[in-house]
Every structure is written in C-alpha cells, then in structure tokens.
Symmetry: C2
Subunit: 470 residues, 2 copies
C-alpha cells in the first residue's frame, strides 16, 4: 500500500512557487489558454451550450464571472460549468497524448471564473493552471490505460482533480485543506465513455470544472474528506481502475512538466482521426482531386481509430466526429475538417454520404497513433497514396503559434468582430503581465447583445421534445 | 446484451398513474418522508452542513426553496444539495436492506425543493417519491453486492438515478427526455466508500440529489445523453460493477414496491451495529447494570460489522458511528445511541474510552445481519447474555408510527418548538391532501432566526484550518 499519495500532491501544490516553473512551461500554458479560449468562445451558440444554459439559468447566482462568448455574468460555479461544456463542444480542444486527457478544459474553466471573481493576476492564474494540468495528467498517467479501457472518460474523471488543485492553489489552501479538496474531487470523479456522441461528453468537462472548483471552495471551509482519496483501498485509483502506478503521481515533481506533452488539434474531431484527415487533405491538394474522379478511399489505421470512431452511418454532427469515414470524405471533398464539416446539414449531404459509403478503414498494426496510410482509387483506375508518419498537431509536428492564432480566429469569427479577436490574442500572449482577468473576460462578449438569460424565471416547463438524438 | 433497460425505466415512469400505486405504499412513503424530514431538520447546525453552506453561499441563486431546519431560501439545486447532506449527516436515515441504500435522502431532497418551487401538490410529490425510490433501489439491486464491494457508496451512485426519475416525473418529461435524464444521471454517478467517516459521506447524498435534479432539468431542455446510460457496454452497470442482473430493473414493475422493504433506524449510526446496540440496551435495562460493575463486553456479530465498523479507537463523533466498540459502550452506559452519544465530547469521555477498550467483537458466521449475540461479564464473575434475532428497526420488527414520531421529536427538539414539531408531524401524515408544499417547508424554519446567510458576499478566504480530521 503506497504511503500518502494524496498528501504528496497536496504538499507539492503548497510548496510550488511561481519561479519554480520554467519559462517554456508558462509559454505552453499561454498556448493552451489561447486554444481553450478559442474553443470556448466559439461554441456558446451551439445547442449543447444553449440547452445547458436554458436548463440551469433559473438557478444562477450573482453575476460574478463571464460566460465566455456570450457576455452574461453568472455565479462562478455555473460559469465554470458552462465554459467547460463550451470548451469541449466542438471536440477541438487540446490533448495530452499520453493519457488522451483534454487537460485545459476543466482546469482553465474553473480558475478563469474564480480569478475573475477574486481579482487574481495573470501570473498567478498561469501558475495555478500549470499545477492543475500537472496534477490531472499525473493522476491520469497513474491509471491509464486500464481506467480508460474500463469505460471512464478520463478527461472528466481526472479533470476534476486538476480543477480542484488549481482552484485550491488560487484560494491559498493549506496542505490539509488540499488533501480534503483532492478527496472531495475524488469522490465526484465521474463520466462514462458510453456518452460519446451525445451532449454529455462536453458536459463531463463542465461538471469536472464545477465540481473541482466546489471541492476547493468546500475544503477552504474545512469540509473534510478521507485522507487518502486517491490511493485509499476504496479510493479513486482502486475503485475506478484495474491497474495503477503511483510513481507517475509521486516521482519527479518539477523535473518535467506534463504541459510540455500537450498538443492542439487542427481538426474539429477526435484526435485519432487526424492523421487520416491530414493525409486526405494532402492527397486532395497535391493531385487536385475532384469528387467525381474518386472511386474509393482505403485507409490503414491504428486500432483505436475503429474502436473510437468506427461509426459508418452518422446521423447528426456530433456522430460525424466519431466517424472516420465521414472525416475522410469531407477532407477529400472540402479540404478541411472544421466545424462546418460537422454541421448536421453536411452529415446529411447526399454527395458526402455517397463518398462516405465508399470509404473502407482497416486496422494496420504497423501504424502508430499519429500515423495513417491512405490510398485513393480514381475511376480511371489510378491509385494515389500517402503515408502520414506524424500528423499536423502531433508532438513531433506541433501547431505553431501562428497556426494557433489562425485556429483561434476561425473559431471566434462567427461570434466576435476582428478587432476583439486580435485584442484577445494579444491579451493571451501577455497573460503573465495582466493585472486581473476581468478585461480578458469582457473582451469575449459578442458585440451584438444576443440572447439574454432570464435569471429566476418562473416554473420550469420541459421544451417541446425534438426527434430522437437531435 | 440486454435490450433497452434505460428505456424500459423511462417508459415505466411515464406510464405510472397515481392510482397505480397501492395505498400501503403511499402510507410507507409518508413514513419515509417523516423520517427524512426529521433527520434533515435536526442536522443543519452540524459542522457538516454549516461548512457546506458557508462554502457555497456566495453562489446561491434566487430564493426558491427552503433549507429545512434553517429557514433560508436558496435556489432549488443548492436546497436539494444542502437538505440531502443534512439528511445523512447523523447517519440516522432510512435503509433499504436488500441494497444498503438510504433511499429517501437523494429523492426527497431533490423533489421537496422542486415541489416547493413549482407549486406541486402533495399527492404528486408522494407519487414521484415512490417512483424515485423504486428506480434507485431496482438499479441498486441489479448491481449489489458486487458494485458495493468494489468500493462504491451505493446511496450516492444509485441515488442520483432516483432523484432524476422523481424530478423527471414531476417535470412531466417525455419517455425520450427521461432516457436522457437517466443517462445524465448515470454519467454523474459517483461516491467512494473511502470517504466513510468524513463529511463526504453525507455529501454523496446531497450531490446525488442535486445532480439528479439537474439531470432532469437539463433533459427537460432536450440536453441529450447516450440512449443506454444504464446498460450500454460503457454505461453505468458495466463500468461501475463487476456483476449485474438487469432483471432486477426490468421485471415485475408494479407487482411489488421497493419502498415496502424500507426500514428506519432507531439509532444514529450504521445499521449493521443496531442489533448490538439493541441487545446492549436490553441487557442494561433488564439487569440494571451500572458502569462500575462491568468487566468486559463480548460481541458475536455478522462479518459486515467488523468490515464496516471495526474502528476501535474513534477520535471524533463521525468515526464513533463506525465503531461497534463505541456503540456497545455507550449503549450500556447511557441506554441510548442518539446524536448525543456521537458528540465529539462523548467520544473523548474517559469513562466511555475505558469501557470501549474492554469490548471485544468477533465474527460469528451463524449470525444474520439483523442479529447479534452479546455477553457482558461483570466484575463479580457473573455473565449476562442476550441473543437478538431481529433488532428493532428491522423488517421483521419495524418501528411503529409512534416510534417514528418519537424519533422525529427527538431530532427536531434542538431546533424547533413543540407546536411546530406537532404541526410538522401532522402535515406529513396528511401529505396526500396538501395543496402545495410551501407550508410544510416554512414550518421547518427555527423560531429563532439563527445564523443568516450572506448571498453573494465578497471574495472567498479559506477558514482558519482546524486540526486534522476535525
């Protein structure tokens, strides 16, 4: 039985000083925050966010923190939840490849709201963000892949620890209070992979942000938990995983940083499909392929691709993100895989469906997770091929700052005007200089006032029901 | 793979009419609500509740529902959480013996708040309560004991389904919306047994109440989940349990009712210790035992007693509830095991400690869960013995309505005056006649205004830290 894993984490958080974190880690933190903010600002008119907002609006507390991309200010717990949901709605957020955790969502959503409310300076926000990601990814490493294989959505289950750790750092919790915060987080760790393809997948990030933040707020009042929430015999790692290696949590603090293993998606879907999309777009552009020339598309992929994204007949946009066939088809037709390629209308487009049905994906055990082999057969019998070894967005081939800015602009353009977008980009790069986060938050409000929220409105009546799974 | 377990539950909830539930089930529902209300009204000055309240108060929404036993009105989500926490704080709530679920807490806390807000009549409240308990206990039966053995606190993990089902019935959700509500509940199912003995144990009930209620509110806006939240390959039953029997969920709806298997605790601690306490009190009273006469106490108990309550050296009141040694000692000294016997001061009393150290408990495999064998050796060598076959509060020997009223009075006396207590008792027995639940809720407010809550107060500062585990 390991000794005091939870306490070791608490001790590390308390001991960490701003200057203990190397500059390249802070630089990566700013890249991660820019990417998180773009995903969050871009999504709030999506039904996933608006339905969550409509369901919870009558219960919002005082205006303390901003729902980014909308402008409403609500209590920090609901701001954390709604920004967390938004950040993962497009499945376009960051990925810690070693654990498949999307690390920024829960951590940034929790402490962005808390920092706006508490008047925290940018430097302290970034420091807490780095620590939250460190805690969440180390806990994830300790139980991955067994935990994920059982069926847990690790972004939610580990994310709640990251949010609690980061919020606890900002609140200045003591070591004992952090032990409790991590314990309160542990006992709220949840999120099932069964939910992939439904609105509950992004909900997991919002719930992790909110519950982790609440864990820190409760611990600040000496609300107690068990002492060994992570490693206890009936604690997180034993109950939610078949295997565990606590050294991933306890060893080498400060000698390496999980954030340096973070990656950003160039395409708005699950990362396992990215090599396929990358290769399809390259082939399309190199050979100037037109839809009517194409007979079939054959893919050799890593086993996870079919396990996670094997849907051959997606019916709505969210399902399209879990269909490697759909992604290959739109990549060849449109040369892109942004949100537009996952709109419901695009999923139902007859030309897309026709090509999608001519995509065949097979597992190739020689292929790594960031690789794919694509062969496109033309109607004249020609076959064009591409083997992607390290796709764009991988650790070996990361998105540049310029790539990230371009992605940010694409996400924000439907919501904000160009001036505000550039001000936000600059504010993110200068986050370590910021006096407080209010200004950054207020810049995310759309110029048009948009839909207003009715706080404390009358009795709840269910919405007219839509068709199944819509 | 079973077909549509989640949908079968949704269909049952939608189809159920008030008159489908037999009168004895409604009668038991009123007994369960009376017991829930007494536990909830009695606890709100306990540190478990006040620290949760202090931590969350700055984020409360509009005054929609009552925190029972306190008088503040807060948004319904926080009311559900705080009343749920209060209901389990004394570990004095009801028990569904077949699953060890404490069923009323999450369900009643969720829909008491919702009903006050929505102006629901007592009859509909009781109907939804019956359905919520039915759903939660059936889901619990399907995975018990494997799920519990892994380390899940089934009151929280199953309770969230009950709260969602009951709230969904009150909101008039469609079958599809209930499928989603149950799915959103499934993906929030959490609560670790590692937390037993800390404030997180009652927190699980509050979280289940709040999260189940939120699941129904989100589903009312067509916020989607997976279709098979319960039975899917990566759904609740497969991920959170090693074994499962879906027939417990799908078969025999309406032919029997889980609520008829509910029991109420005469003593303020885990039910597995009750036979020991019952027998010790009987021996004390029959033989007029005085503390100075007693040499030692020997107990023969069911295996679960030592597994769950084997603490021999409790340091605080909450831990005393998990110490069969402490319970036997106070039962013999005080002839009681109410909240007073679990006050911190009583745990630290030298006379109690001295007797506690002379209690020996051993597993006796011939003994059932509601039985115990007690032998008390006196200093003069005399040995007095008692074998309890069915302790008070068991299904075979249930508490009468009069017993429940007496328990209710004992719980409420520190908070309310006698007139209000009697009015509350009468209101519970007449709940099926009530126009709305506002009146009942307002009767729970203490006459003295007590501590007020500062909604939207300034920045959060951690409380001064107390000693470990206090």
């Amino acid at each position: 039985m390991p000794q005091q894993v939870t306490r070791a984490v608490a001790r590390f958080i308390v001991a960490s000083r701003h200057e203990d974190v190397p500059e390249p880690v802070y630089r990566e933190a700013k890249r991660a925050v820019l990417n998180w903010l773009g995903c969050s600002v871009g999504a709030p008119r999506h039904a996933t966010v608006t339905r969550a907002l409509d369901g919870l609006a009558p219960f919002f507390g005082p205006p303390q923190a901003t729902v980014v991309g909308r402008g409403e200010r609500v209590d920090i717990l609901h701001a954390a939840m709604l920004n967390g949901i938004a950040s993962h709605t497009f499945d376009f957020d960051d990925t810690h490849l070693a654990t498949v955790i999307h690390p920024a969502g829960s951590v940034a959503s929790a402490i962005f709201a808390l920092s706006e409310y508490q008047g925290v300076i940018g430097r302290d926000f970034l420091h807490a963000f780095v620590l939250g990601v460190e805690v969440e990814c180390r806990i994830g490493r300790a139980v991955y892949p067994s935990h994920y294989d059982i069926g847990w959505h690790i972004t939610g289950t580990a994310g709640v620890f990251g949010a609690a750790a980061a919020a606890g750092k900002i609140l200045g919790l003591s070591e004992q209070q952090l032990v409790w915060a991590l314990g309160i987080a542990a006992t709220q760790s949840s999120g099932l992979r069964e939910m992939f393809g439904s609105m509950c997948k992004p909900f997991h990030v919002g719930a992790a942000a909110k519950n982790g933040l609440a864990a820190a707020l409760l611990a600040a009042q000496n609300f107690t938990s068990a002492e060994a929430g992570i490693e206890g015999s009936r604690g997180f790692a034993n109950v939610l995983s078949a295997e565990r290696d606590y050294r991933a949590i306890t060893e080498g603090w400060g000698s390496g940083w999980e954030l340096l293993d973070n990656t950003y998606k160039p395409f708005a879907c699950g990362i396992v499909i990215h090599p396929t999309i990358d290769g399809c777009i390259q082939l399309r552009n190199e050979h100037r392929l037109a839809l009517e020339e194409i007979e079939k598309i054959e893919l050799g992929v890593h086993p996870l691709v079919l396990e996670l994204t094997g849907k051959t007949d997606p019916r709505v946009g969210l399902e399209g993100k879990f269909s490697v066939s759909h992604c290959a088809a739109v990549a060849v037709i449109d040369g892109a895989a942004g949100e537009a390629q996952f709109a419901d209308a695009r999923i139902k487009d007859p030309a897309v469906i026709a090509l999608r049905q001519r995509v065949r994906a097979e597992v190739d055990k020689t292929i790594d997770e960031d690789a794919a082999a694509i062969a496109i057969t033309l109607v004249d019998g020609t076959v064009v091929k591409k083997r992607v070894e390290h796709c764009i967005g991988s650790l070996a081939h990361p998105m540049s700052d310029t790539d990230l800015e371009a992605k940010f602009r694409g996400l924000c353009e439907p919501i904000l005007d160009a001036d505000h977008i550039e001000m936000l980009i600059n504010a993110c790069w200068q986050l370590d200089q910021a006096d407080r986060l209010d200004h950054l938050a207020s810049l995310t409000a759309p110029r048009r006032s948009g839909e207003s929220v009715h706080v404390g409105a009358g009795p709840i009546r269910p919405a007219a029901q839509l068709g199944s799974r819509t």
